[in-house]
């Protein structure tokens, strides 16, 4: 029986041919942890497993979720995490300001296509952007992977999404991800592998957005074959490149037909066209996160904001996904455009996405976020409302003061035809 892409990777890892539904024990190429969960992992490793890190070269630790520390509890925990890394000989500790784990893992080339990558953060499906089997797990699983170098996995069924055509101006990967959420539902890919096809031209940044968002439809892994830009930047092993069972698409998407979309709180799959929400006034626009905090995202927003002013009463908070993104945005002028329009900037990292610091929302506040979750209470008060959208919709919204479709602004920019 032929293998899906997910089955092929797990068969290679397990050293035998496996198919959906089987349980495998597989070696882990990289297991990363973030500051908010690392203290629990360390406690399980040291006090329950009574073990040490077996191979520090296969471990990465990120201080990104509350960075810099917001209170004494987080500061103390970060001290303990740094001490642990030193004691275990973990050289890959990425401290305050380096950025969101999922972005830095890829920037630093810590992983490669075809590898098994675990993360203590649910959006570890992001590594599917380069064709790695990335999946999120809890503290116990990461602790056992650190102790042993192995994990157990149930081989997932595959849901195939095939795209054709090209995005229209003002439409992008986030709109595709929201369209998919609307089409299959927030549990539409529960326990499954999502496998995208037809996206060979898609840049790495957009693949990261798509792979990240597969978590929001319940997926275990979100794979995009390592073609195009990813094929040039990363090393895909020969066995991964060989033909696999790409089968019938479960969902076909015509990119030309997509329009700017928004997920209405409190569900990611409650998706409507941005133009239908013009009566929703906003207090905060947040541009950032592992989903949409990359240079391309900041550039998209800057292009719309350049020479314009953010609406009175709107706070626009920009948090670059990494220090590299920030440095590039400084050197190419993107940051100046954002700041000139009235946006402000936070330390690279997760920012206010998880409602712990750097822009916690109060009761009654409305936020348009380029992040991935709009659950009640996600960014602060359970009485705040979070709308999820692309960087282009976020920028257009910041200018209008209410949720806005970016396409009219883009149309204004087009040169007049004689």
């Amino acid at each position: 029986m032929p293998h899906t892409l997910a089955e092929k990777i797990l068969s290679h890892a397990a050293g035998r041919s496996v198919h959906a539904g089987e349980l495998v024990v597989a070696p882990v190429d990289m297991a990363m942890a973030v500051d908010s969960i690392a203290p629990s992992i360390i406690s399980i490793l040291r006090h329950k497993l009574e073990a040490r890190v077996r191979d520090p070269e296969r471990v990465a630790v990120f201080i990104d979720h509350v960075a810099p520390a917001a209170n004494v509890a987080t500061a103390d925990a970060q001290v303990a995490v740094r001490r642990f890394a030193a004691e275990e000989g973990i050289s890959r500790l990425y401290d305050v300001g380096r950025g969101v784990c999922h972005q830095v893992m890829i920037e630093e080339r810590l992983i490669q296509p075809g590898q098994i990558v675990l993360g203590s953060d649910s959006h570890s499906t992001s590594y599917g952007a380069i064709g790695a089997f990335g999946t999120g797990m809890g503290a116990s699983d990461i602790a056992m992977a650190w102790a042993s170098g192995y994990t157990w996995l149930r081989v997932p069924e595959t849901i195939r999404i095939r795209a054709r055509g090209r995005f229209r101006p003002g439409v992008g990967a986030k709109d595709l991800a929201l369209h998919v959420a609307r089409a299959i539902g927030s549990d539409g890919a529960r326990y499954a592998a999502v496998e995208y096809a037809g996206l060979d031209e898609l840049p790495l940044a957009d693949r990261q957005t798509l792979a990240c968002m597969t978590t929001e439809v319940g997926a275990k892994v979100g794979l995009i074959p390592p073609s195009g830009e990813v094929g040039r930047l990363f090393h895909a092993p020969d066995w991964l490149e060989e033909e696999w069972d790409s089968g019938q698409a479960d969902l076909e998407v015509d990119l030309d037909q997509l329009v700017p979309l928004v997920a209405v709180p409190p569900a990611v799959d409650s998706v409507v066209e941005a133009s239908a929400l013009a009566d929703v006034r906003v207090d905060v626009v947040f541009l950032g996160t592992c989903t949409n905090g990359r240079l391309k995202d900041l550039q998209t927003a800057a292009r719309l904001l350049e020479g314009r002013r953010i609406a009175r009463g709107v706070r626009m908070i920009v948090v670059p996904a990494s220090s590299q993104v920030l440095a590039q945005a400084v050197s190419d002028g993107t940051l100046a455009k954002l700041l000139s329009s009235g946006a402000t900037i936070g330390t690279p990292g997760c920012g206010p996405c998880i409602g712990r610091h750097m822009g916690v929302l109060g009761a009654g506040e409305v936020c348009v976020s380029t992040g991935n979750r709009n659950f009640r209470g996600r960014m602060g008060s359970p009485e705040a409302r979070i709308y999820l959208a692309s960087p282009a919709v976020a920028a257009a919204t910041a200018l209008a003061g209410h949720i806005a479709d970016p396409r009219p602004l883009l149309a204004q920019e087009e040169p007049a035809h004689g």
Binding site: I37, E50, M137, M144, S186, R190, R356, R373
Partner: protein, 163 residues
């Protein structure tokens, strides 16, 4: 007798324990006090050991935070019966040894009902009927018997399904 705590569909981890109440944020050792602190504040005050959560679809969606099921373990929850579970929550609950069952009849169970969970007999008994549960596979039973997957791993130095 256990009390049924009934929940709807798509109960996310921010409802179970909001991120702001993470042990990382508070240094709080007693996680149980934060279970459903905002979504259902009476839960942590009134829940008793052995009580049951009965829910709709996709229970536990969202974050990888193991402290969400850990908070439910801390209050001594007997089991969670839902139409379906989100992937990471299911795995975390299994790893912690919290019994979970998927069942399609959860709409018939009311909040506040008294019920008896018969794990060995794989059934739930209430005043108005007996409901069948799918007996868990050996892999799952092994973890439950050992207490948690970490307990198993420490004892045997391998995973339950490893040859």
């Amino acid at each position: 007798m256990a009390r049924v705590w009934k929940f709807g569909s798509h109960v996310d981890t921010d409802q179970i324990v909001p991120g702001r109440y993470a042990p990382y944020m508070t240094s709080e050792a007693d996680l149980g006090r934060y279970a459903f602190i905002e979504a259902r504040p009476e839960f942590a005050q009134q829940v008793r050991a052995g009580d049951l959560i009965v829910a709709g679809k996709n229970f536990g969606c969202g974050s990888s935070r193991e402290y969400a099921p850990e908070a439910l373990k801390a209050v001594g929850l007997g089991a969670i019966i839902a139409q379906s579970f989100a992937r990471i929550f299911f795995r975390n609950a299994l790893n912690l040894g919290i019994p979970t069952f998927e069942a399609d009849w959860t709409d018939e169970i009311q909040d506040g009902e008294d019920a008896t969970l018969d794990v060995e007999g794989a059934r739930l008994i209430t005043a108005h009927g007996t409901y069948a549960l799918v007996p868990p596979p050996a892999f799952v039973r092994t973890i439950w018997r050992e207490g948690s997957i970490v307990d198993y791993f420490r004892r045997y130095k391998r995973f339950p399904n490893e040859p």
